[in-house]
């Protein structure tokens, strides 16, 4: 029921009240857990960046080894930050869209604590040297079944209101429904098949599917689902084309799962499968273009909102960077590009652009929009909100540009058969710039953390001023 999100719950006798649908404390808790793990991830990234330029102050300490922290860095951002932030946003969006509460509050809180335990155990396990040899799935093997059970409970909790919803389903809910199924299947596939079923090359094909599906079938559908929800809500107008959103969803659903092997081009994986993955990847780029067109047509006529409305600015910045990511993907996935840039920092730049430049930015937008509503007060400082935006955006754009260039240099150093140290020495300037780009990003998040803390300290305003669902001028 699209209408639900546009109406004032509580003002209309027929509709359930917002308070009966959304457990705001849970949203808040998930956001705070997300930001805690974000801080952990940033520290891990910082340590790795310092190591590369010989400035690591903590060398020689086993539990702080950069190789282990690198895995904490990626796992904390995927399972700690993104998963928690998504869950928080889902607890807000799904009940408001379906006009039904989630399965059970008890289950919700159980999931909350279970998930934090899973992520913490993952971090501790990795730091103790128990990582599993699957990229993005380094979660120690003994935690995998627990995490999978958690994902199942998440699916049950949110599928209940979706199943009970009457009438045609809005596009956001297609994405969410598919994401619950995909995330569960992807996690099971990636963590169990290469470990227990298929060794060697065919296991590598599955690991490739997992790397890709984790972004494509867990993060991407949840992210776009939130965009299809929050953008029309904040702009107060419907999405431009329902037809295009159908194309976007079904195009993604069909082509995205076929991409995975493009992470292992020129390996012994059969060549026809590699070609298939390349073609499917280029197809995804076409689909993405339709989605981007749909969203830019939606904001057409309200373009000034990008300047005045901070959440909208976060969202559309992320979308521009999403388009850049996907365009880059369609190029870099070709065998021509791969020969040069595979294994280089180009790929690292791409990964940061996707995980931070797109999805983290979107979730910062969601948080910027929701925190005033959750805390029933305006932001302590608009200036700090702006600093958060500009430092994050400038930081990621600089990091992406820098690492992409570094990748091209490294690729040419290698193919020209120069001694290996030449590529390492030649990377140093880029790695130093990357450190400062990362410090910019960290600075932005510090502004955000401080702003949330001060906002929390302000004390709530009278409820009337910030009735949930009403736009709060603080963010405009």
């Amino acid at each position: 029921m699209i209408a639900g999100s546009f109406e004032k719950e509580g003002g209309d006798g027929d509709l359930p009240r917002h308070e009966d649908l959304v457990d705001e404390r849970l949203v808040r808790w998930h956001f705070l857990a997300a930001l805690t793990f974000l801080a952990v991830s940033l520290l891990g990234g910082l340590l790795m960046a310092l190591q590369l330029i010989h400035w690591n102050p903590l060398r020689g300490i086993e539990l702080l080894s950069p190789g282990r922290w690198r895995m904490v860095h990626t796992n904390a951002i995927a399972y700690g930050f993104l998963a928690n932030a998504f869950l928080g946003a889902l607890y807000w969006a799904v009940p408001r869209l379906t006009l039904k509460p989630v399965q059970s509050p008890a289950l919700s809180y159980f999931i909350y604590f279970a998930w934090q335990a899973v992520v913490l155990a993952t971090a501790v396990g990795i730091l103790l040297g128990q990582a599993q040899g699957v990229e993005w799935g380094e979660t120690p093997v003994w935690i995998d079944p627990v995490a999978l059970l958690g994902l199942l409970l998440v699916a049950v909790n949110f599928m209940t209101p979706i199943a009970r919803a009457k009438g045609p389903l809005y596009v956001t809910l297609w994405y969410f429904m598919a994401a619950f199924v995909w995330t569960f299947l992807t996690y099971a596939m990636g963590n169990f098949v290469p470990q227990y079923v298929a060794a060697g090359t065919s296991g590598g094909a599955v690991a490739g599917l997992f790397i890709h599906d984790l972004v494509g079938l867990f993060v991407t559908p949840l992210g776009w689902g939130l965009m299809y929800y929050f953008v029309p809500v904040i702009l107060r107008k419907p999405i431009w084309s329902h037809g295009l959103s159908l194309v976007g969803f079904w195009g993604l659903a069909f082509f995205y799962p076929l991409n995975g092997i493009h992470h292992f081009l020129y390996t012994p994986i059969p060549m026809f499968l590699q070609y298939g993955a390349v073609i499917a990847t280029v197809a995804v780029e076409m689909v993405v273009t339709t989605v981007i067109i749909n969203f830019f047509a939606t904001i057409w006529g309200s373009g000034r909102q990008v300047v005045t409305n901070l959440p909208i600015r976060w969202f559309y910045t992320g979308m521009v960077l999403y388009f850049v990511t996907c365009l880059q993907c369609a190029l870099q996935v070709t065998l021509t590009f791969q020969a040069l840039i595979h294994f280089t920092d180009w790929v690292v730049g791409h990964a940061h652009l996707v995980m931070f430049g797109v999805f983290s930015l979107w979730l910062f937008g969601v948080m910027t929009y929701l925190f005033p509503r959750l805390l029933k007060r305006e932001w302590y400082s608009q200036q700090l909100c702006e600093w958060h935006y500009w430092l994050s955006t400038a930081g990621i754009v600089l990091m992406f540009t820098d690492l992409t260039l570094a990748g091209i240099f490294q690729g040419y150093y290698w193919s020209s058969l120069q001694s290996w140290d030449v590529s390492v020495d030649g990377s140093q300037p880029f790695w130093i710039v990357r450190l400062f780009a990362g410090l910019g990003i960290i600075g932005g998040q510090l502004c955000f953390f401080y702003n949330i803390y001060r906002t929390y300290q302000l004390g709530p305003k009278p409820a009337a001023a910030t009735a949930s669902g009403e736009p709060i001028p603080a963010t405009t």
């Binding site: 090359t201 590598g204 799962p257 059969p270």
Partner: protein, 216 residues
């Protein structure tokens, strides 16, 4: 169908995922089903044994203490632990294990990677890797001595100027000449990489220790 719950769940959620899994994962699994998967013991070869025995002579006290005699079974035991450490320390995030047929890689490292090289217990999950801060390691075995590898793990910059590789002091009891159980395991694993190749460097004339000692 395209907007209904059943359509989204069954076609999009399950159907397309299953289609991709069958075409991208089941197909290669079936293609390689006749390639036998070797155990760690089966992958122990003469080249590796040369290095393993070299370890036992170079670091006799530590070797004796942790592995006893340089037998094939003990080599397999060291390989398993070495593989776990290679994963646990995240070595595979900065070192790949496959040589591509492009970018002059076969000139730098040796023969292009083949499927059968990965059909063994120690490539479960496969250690292809996706990033090279340091060089590919799939042809590292036999390329450098155990001494070099030990010093390099202990303090990379000693033997590799400007290397950004972290120090792995916890593989040693305070000194690169005293590798611990883990240190010996990692050294064995590194020397194992590529030991199965015809073009494995230097050690074609290998003969087991016993025969060498028995000779008058």
């Amino acid at each position: 169908m395209f907007e209904s719950k059943a359509g989204v769940l069954l076609i999009g959620g399950l159907g397309f995922f299953a289609f991709a899994f069958v075409s991208n994962a089941v197909v290669p699994i079936l293609m390689y089903r006749d390639l036998p998967e070797q155990t760690a013991e089966e992958t122990v070869n003469a080249n590796l044994m040369y290095e393993f025995e070299d370890l036992s002579r170079r670091f006799p006290e530590a070797f004796e203490k942790h592995y006893g005699q340089p037998t094939k079974e003990n080599a397999a035991k060291a390989l398993r632990l070495g593989r776990d450490l290679y994963i646990g320390e995240g070595c595979w995030h900065c070192h790949s294990q496959f040589v591509r047929p492009v970018s002059n890689e076969s000139l730098r490292w040796g023969p292009v990677a083949k499927t059968e090289e990965y059909q063994n217990e120690l490539q479960r999950p496969v250690m292809f890797g996706t990033r090279r801060v340091g060089p590919d390691l799939s042809r590292e075995g036999g390329r450098r001595s155990n001494d070099w590898q030990a010093v390099h793990l202990f303090r990379p910059e000693t033997v590799s100027t400007g290397s950004p590789m972290p120090e792995y002091a916890w593989f040693f009891d305070g000194d690169p000449s005293k590798p611990s159980e883990r240190g010996l395991a990692v050294l064995t694993y590194i020397q194992w990489l590529g030991s199965w190749l015809e073009s494995y460097p230097y050690y074609e004339d290998y003969q087991p220790v016993e025969t060498m000692e028995a000779a008058p």
